[in-house]
Amino acid sequence: MKDWLSRYGPSLLVFVVLLAAWEFATTNGYLKPYRFPAPSKIAMGFVEIASEGFPEDLTIWVHTRTTVGRILQGYIAAVGLAIPLGFLIGAFSTLEKLTAPLIIFGRSIATLSLLPLVIVWFGTGELTKVVLIGYGCFWTMISNVIAGVKYVDPVLIRAARTFGVSGPALFWRVILPAALPRIFAGARMALGVGFMVIVGAEMIGTVEGLGALIMEARNFYRSEITIIGMLVIGIIGFLIASGLLHLEKMLIPWDTGLDEVRR
Amino acid sequence: MSTDAGFIELNDINMRFGLPAEALPVVLQGIDLSIAQNEFVSIVGRSGCGKTTLLNIVAGLVEATTGTVTIAGNQVRGPGQGQGVVFQQHALFPWLTAMGNVEFGCRKADISKSEKREVCRQLLDLVGLSHAADKYPRELSGGMQQRVAIARALALDPEILLMDEPFGALDELTRIELQQELLRVWDARKKTVIFVTHSITEALILSDRVILLSPHPGRVFKDYQITLPRPRIRTDPAFNAMYQEIWEGLSA
């Protein structure tokens, strides 16, 4: 407890002081309330959107569920496709070389630049959003799976061969575990991409979802609701990423953790 | 200060890390040492007995809980008081070339840039690396890296060289080579050396004096004067007798 206080105490204090200053500045007219809604107003906005909803009947929980649902659909489809394909490509160097330019280029395409094209193909409905998320997640994921398999330390493979391990056993017992840390790093990065894309995708053709919520709130000059929406997106992204990290620690206890920043 | 003041004086050094309330174990207790100018002293002891800590205290990198270190009568209050340090892992700056690292060590403000370069070139020459001046640390072998580290420490023109298991990570052949080189440098430039090692042979090859540190807490346990003639021969019976004596001291 004492440790905790000395570690986070100063940060917490800074945070509380900032909030207080913000509240003071807004209520006393130093900051425009529309541009910088006071923390108290944000809190009231949260009560409103949690109970009555904004727009009518669409509570924050509904928005959150919709957004998370869309992300998960695209994300799971992308990951499910990228893992087997990535293993296949990573395992055969000729295949890897054949596909390298396509993968580099596919990854370089800005996902949201596909928005107009995907609208032409699939309209402005659910499918468009899921496809965009899936596209963004897929390339991040597959590049990491390929790298994970390709860069399995050859010494490990040779060592396994000396014990007579080969074929499918080699895959299941050596290559897969050795590639897992990188795959998980990719899964976390892909999730980040998903959260980035969804916000853009939800700004068009829907009133449901957190991305739609923050845009819609702005149209109605409800900046405090915009801020709530942003915070909720941040918190959910953070929670899911932490969940993945825990899962990773559980599944691969030998992993020391690949930081995104050190990819 | 004691009356027979040596060049380096350690007076009743006690060391315990952390805050007193944490009650961490005592690392060093009551270390008194007096080291003469130009003396080559090895400190030998088991892993974890506080050798690095002791060296860091002399280097001024770590402050002792109580006790003082003086160099030529001046109390050590921080690094950069004439102590050159060679670390166990070379600790070269990866973004500087061999030459750049040595130049980093040369901190004389009163000489021109070209003079400085010349001094550093001579130092690289001294450690046999003039051909690798423009290589970066990652392009050098372990032995070469450690040589650059020695040249860098010498560039400071320190009166004292503090070396923390500098050859510990090297293979036997490189190790022997570097030991000989170090002796050559020591002979040519006359430095006072405190050399930490866990190899009795290494200590015997190099030193005028071998100090044994006992663990938990670290204390000066034995202090041997090595009077064997130089150059020392590993197969010499007197050498082996000394080895045996120190080994027995360590196992006691």
Binding site: S11, L12, V14, F15, Y34, R35, T94, K97, L98, A100, P101, L102, S108, I109, A110, T111, L112, S113, L115, P116, L117, I119, V120, F195, M196, V199, G200, G211, I214, M215, R218, S223, T226, G229, M230, I233, G234, I235, G237, A241, V261, R262 | L61, G78, P79, G80, Q83, V85, F87, Q89, A91, F93, P94, W95, F104, R107, Y136, P137, A153, L156
Partner: protein, 255 residues
Amino acid sequence: MSNRISAKDVLLGGIGTLAVLVPWEIAARSGIVDPSIFPSPILAISSAAEKLSATEVLDHMGWSLFRVFSGFLLGALAGITIGIVAGWYRTAGYLLRPMIELLRPIPPLAWIPLAIIWFGLGEPSKFFLIFLGAFFPVVTATYQGVTNVDPILIRAAQTFGLKGIDLLVRIVIPGAAPDLATGIRIGWGLSFGVLVAAELIAADKGLGYMIMHARLLGYVDVIVVGIVLIGILNLLTDGMIAWLIKKGIGRWHEV
């Protein structure tokens, strides 16, 4: 690990690319897929060229590049500065870290409405969004780099009498450079993604606007050309940055 590309790799890559493009071209030309919805690569370029002049495209491209470079430059500079200050000075770290950690998980695009509220629909809000895209990855990487500099290097420098600002400038900043370089590349990618989205929402110039406008006119070929152009620009600029990084630190640090 060597990443050298051999002639054989290029050949294989070319074959792989053709294996996708040729059937696509054939399918579109033979009418198996509707070319007005799924245009062939070659036809898309030639028909887009009829609808758009080269100068027009260059103009859009210039605007996009100008926006992303200026926003990125300032975002990265701010990220580097704040990352160094927060990583090196303990008090500053206490002040800055909580805010950075709190705001970091919010995707840059989620700032769009607030950016409009604060800065209106014009250039400043786009600049702000691109700035954010660069800022967060760079500030995080710089902070990590500064706090993770090998303590033995700091000690070594101290034995040569370095302290204070000298220690920061001569040891900590170069020591943080590899992490910083990674942050810059991630930041560039993110800035680029944000740029396109910002131009989709509100703009009258720029490649993002060009493709969004083409959709209103029903010009699928222009959309396809625009997407590919944005991808190529992204690839080229990222390659350029990677090359600069390699030139800067590649000799002493494996990149």
